[in-house]
Symmetry: C2
Subunit: 696 residues, 2 copies
Amino acid sequence: MQSVFYPRSVAVVGVSSKLTNLGRNIMLNLVDFGFDGIVYAVGPNGGAIATRRIYKSVIDIPDHIDLAVILVPARFVPGVMEECGQKGVKTAIIETAGFREFSEEGREIEDQVVEIASRYNIRFVGPNCIGVINMENGFCVPFPRLTPFIRKGDVSIISQSGGVGLSIMNHMAAEGIGLNKFVSVGNMLNIDAEDLLEYLIGDKGTRIIFIYLESIRDGRRLMDIANRSPKPILVFKSNIGQLGQNIAASHTASLSSDDRVVDTAFRQCGITRIHDVTTLSDYMKTLRLPPLKNKRLAIISRSGGHAIVAADACELAGFQLADFPEEFIREIEKHFRASVIKLTNPLDLGDLFDLDVYHKIVNDTLEQDNVDGVVFLHTSVAQTEHEHTKKLLGHLESLCKKYNKPVAAYVSANSYEINKLRADFDFPIFTQIVELFRALKLDFEHTQKIAEVDSQEISPTFVVDKKRVNQLIGNAKSENRDLLLNEAMEVLESYGIPTTKGLTANSAAEAKQAAEKLGFPVAMKVISEQISHKSDVGGVQLNLRDSESVEDAFKDMVTRIKKAYPEADFGGVMVQPMAVGGREMILGGRQDKQFGAAVLVGLGGIFVEIFERASMRIAPISKSEAYAMIEELSGSQILMGARGQKRFDIEALVNATLHLSQLLTDFPEIKELDINPLRLFHEAEGCLALDARIIL
Amino acid sequence: MQSVFYPRSVAVVGVSSKLTNLGRNIMLNLVDFGFDGIVYAVGPNGGAIATRRIYKSVIDIPDHIDLAVILVPARFVPGVMEECGQKGVKTAIIETAGFREFSEEGREIEDQVVEIASRYNIRFVGPNCIGVINMENGFCVPFPRLTPFIRKGDVSIISQSGGVGLSIMNHMAAEGIGLNKFVSVGNMLNIDAEDLLEYLIGDKGTRIIFIYLESIRDGRRLMDIANRSPKPILVFKSNIGQLGQNIAASHTASLSSDDRVVDTAFRQCGITRIHDVTTLSDYMKTLRLPPLKNKRLAIISRSGGHAIVAADACELAGFQLADFPEEFIREIEKHFRASVIKLTNPLDLGDLFDLDVYHKIVNDTLEQDNVDGVVFLHTSVAQTEHEHTKKLLGHLESLCKKYNKPVAAYVSANSYEINKLRADFDFPIFTQIVELFRALKLDFEHTQKIAEVDSQEISPTFVVDKKRVNQLIGNAKSENRDLLLNEAMEVLESYGIPTTKGLTANSAAEAKQAAEKLGFPVAMKVISEQISHKSDVGGVQLNLRDSESVEDAFKDMVTRIKKAYPEADFGGVMVQPMAVGGREMILGGRQDKQFGAAVLVGLGGIFVEIFERASMRIAPISKSEAYAMIEELSGSQILMGARGQKRFDIEALVNATLHLSQLLTDFPEIKELDINPLRLFHEAEGCLALDARIIL
């Protein structure tokens, strides 16, 4: 993978001397970005470009080639790859479009390319991409003509769209954020986004990784890699709505995941999801400062108005203003000519502009134990202050490092001045106060979140009857059907999820017998493969108080169901003791194409309508994750004993969720599972699954 | 007021030849911005500056002076103003700081300045401000040294902080938004923000007005002026939190309003409130496009990746993609060399870049009746495209005008290119896709909101017994106390708010008699000036079912209250018939220092805790506003008959709210009024105030 970014000798295939030739752009980009290796041009018509020979084939090059950049029409790509193989080229970047995303013929050409690459052991990026930029060695091979438009820095980018990648680099450049490496992945036939992520995590020059994705191939692998990353990973995942998916289908030929699953998965593996470029650059700025570990800030400002706006923003972002001790204030007071201004936090510097004093004040402020970070609001009033401002930013940067606390620098100056400072400086410069505090908030939350992900507990494993579940699922599968109610309940029991113990009955008499054995009142539910919404057809009868009612209910149920579903298999009924009291919950699971099993918990009954959303996690989950799922449910105060009510048995619910997580992990053939309702009782009284549906 | 922005001859007072002299900066700024009038320098030491004479006094200038810019130490300002008066100068900008905001002595100097100005009939801006910029005539008098850093445009700014104003202009310049007029208002001793707002509403060059405020002087006047404005008014009101207020107290010596009242008032008069500079520039861009009247957009893109991001953003912002009819698609198909790309909305232009074709496609798209606006996603790939991109933007601008529909242009290009385009162009350029759609959403919501404000109905006036309320309030005032329970209930009755008709009683026997007259069951409530939380001391007894209970309750109440409040005046009790059924609401009112009377409606009972917030409006309100107040209550579905329940008598609640609005408007001496609870019954059954508190 190293030679994707650090080749020593490169062949650009598809070069001609025509001004509109894109291969020519690549040649010129490499020169302009100062690539430190050797480049050869290749093109079928030969000739010369910028005083260099254009070889007719890679084979003709009188030198070893580490990497070939290929930009010839799709139908010629297999031939070029074959030649590369013969030449011993082990790495390629195929920028050509017109493959799978374009036509059936393109797909066939792709297959040939894959075959040749595997035969010669060539690893390649693309096809259908704009290539790679490495600011460390000037390796810059995108086909649009580029001049060095961005500074070298420590942010690296993996992008599934060349256009989006370029526009994000443009935005970074405008905000003064430097680039380390960029790679446009295209159709990912060989090297994919996950491979590149793994590489960049180990890459010395990269400190922050940003990924733009339109689809996720292997969500589990992405999670595994991200989980091991000590570097922040930011992901913009597009193609999430119905509208976007329609285009993407023709654009990248990829299927999108349920977006909520993506959200959940990212959070679980410490990936920070980005939804707009403003937030992205906020992260790219604050993540390069030392982490903000607590909420107490000091604001130092040259303008009273800025200090007011900052104090509001500080409060709205949930931060506090650190208290300055008396001695500290007396110390900094010495620097002011007269006690013109009340010295407090925010500290108004008034018209004082003395670099040494600024340095001393910020130093002393950062030294305070109760100050977690400093916001410095600078106004560069006149052109004459440019040099001073530059020095000031240098001071702030070194103080940041000295105290390992963030100093967020806001500079108010005209845009020429800002652009000049940003071109000179790697230290982040903010130009909007409210946005600066939002960025600090992102930083703070990110620090908290990473701490959570770092302290990962192991998901518990319980002793369960896996064999029995295997049998039940095997049976159903062999009959090509989903599980019946009684089977589903048995699956839950086998995995330690308590159910209301019911008995099956095939006749009114059996039902009566079962009810008498269980004790009144009882509930009766139809067992049938074809009927998934039992209550709609009278397939659920609650609160049957005596034998007569049970017999009547059975007969009634049979009649009604025969009428509603004449073709349905009637598998008898399940008679259950009535559960009294408690609150209805919903517990469930889904298999996601990209991320595998996900567990869901939600409030049931009328609360489903009021509080809509369930909590979700990718399985397997840990105990604290199970607790967190319940806590984050809106309306969960109801369970916790709010308003003087009794607390419900949260522990039992956590336990059931953890067992369910194990079940879904052990049996990926379970496509969908719903326990609805799970009746949750008061503290220490447990919970009971009253009904369940398992779809294979 | 005209001469604040368009003086023909100006004296800058406080100029010396020293390099650090701020008056000198003003002189040079006027030259650099190309001021088209005549300027004289004045300074006590005389001498010369940039080859011009410095006059020792305004009086010495051998010419008429329209306006004096004054920047001398505070203690000299009265003298300079006196000289200006004698010279016949009728307008001044006093930039000097160190007045009321600084010391008691400063306040005294201020008083002198005000006296002199009124004696000579001088109108002035400031003191404690950085002055005025008018891009129409190059009048630029802030004391920091400025070079022309922003283009002439149609946005004008009123700012209560010079520093914040400057930084916002810098941001506008960076985003390519032009400035018309800027004024920093300072302490507003004479000309205030409202005066300037009124001027700018009538000003030809101004199309959008932005105001930065740290305090509001006369909220009602601000509302009145804003209500009459056909131009959009954007306000950033800072100093809203506890932290900010502490600084502002020393910074501008102004008191802040309850921030929710500010929110409400702004909404009612059509002011758009801004909370960050990003949103501000979004508004400044979209408000200069034709209004977006409906939600159907067409997206035209040069990059497939951008189209996907845009389609997501379109959906998330609540917009729709307009359907393109078959004929339309066949028409634009002609422009593509081969049917490489599926033509749909978003329309992917692929590698086609032909200005005439672009023009034709956008033209034909805007012509579609079902297209309300176009989003054009442009990528300026190479340096060579600069001229074409410029022309394209020119085309888009003229098409916008032709069809009176917005075309939002996104340009992906390196920052040099973007800066160049922005310097050349007044047409808004977006550089972030998600942010572009958010801006369009702001535009759409703004258009809707303005339509609502425009269709203002008159607040109704009811026949009420104002005289009786006058008496009741007069009595209480003369005894220097608030209203008693029975008086408060009578006030409500006099203003047509139905109350549960109670009887007062001063002894157990009287209470029994009252209860028998009213019929059982009854409620009994203590009447006492000193006891505001009656139930805490057993001052409320509900559901008394017979005469004996009434007598017992009375005695019990007297004993308990004597014990809890030995000093309290016992004013007897109020016996009320028990209200059965219905739901508890809270109706109330407050007097705000800046905006006057505000009406509040909220859900009562346990819902107070769940749904916290009440709705608020500045009185007087119209019928639709009263309805809107109820609709916007979170949890109001409960009243509207959700979940198959009976609808409550919303009309009665609206009616009570309108009557309350009139009461609060008629009697500004009512500081606080709470009807808690107001019992609201089912449809057509009305409502009843069960308890009320009126504080003067």
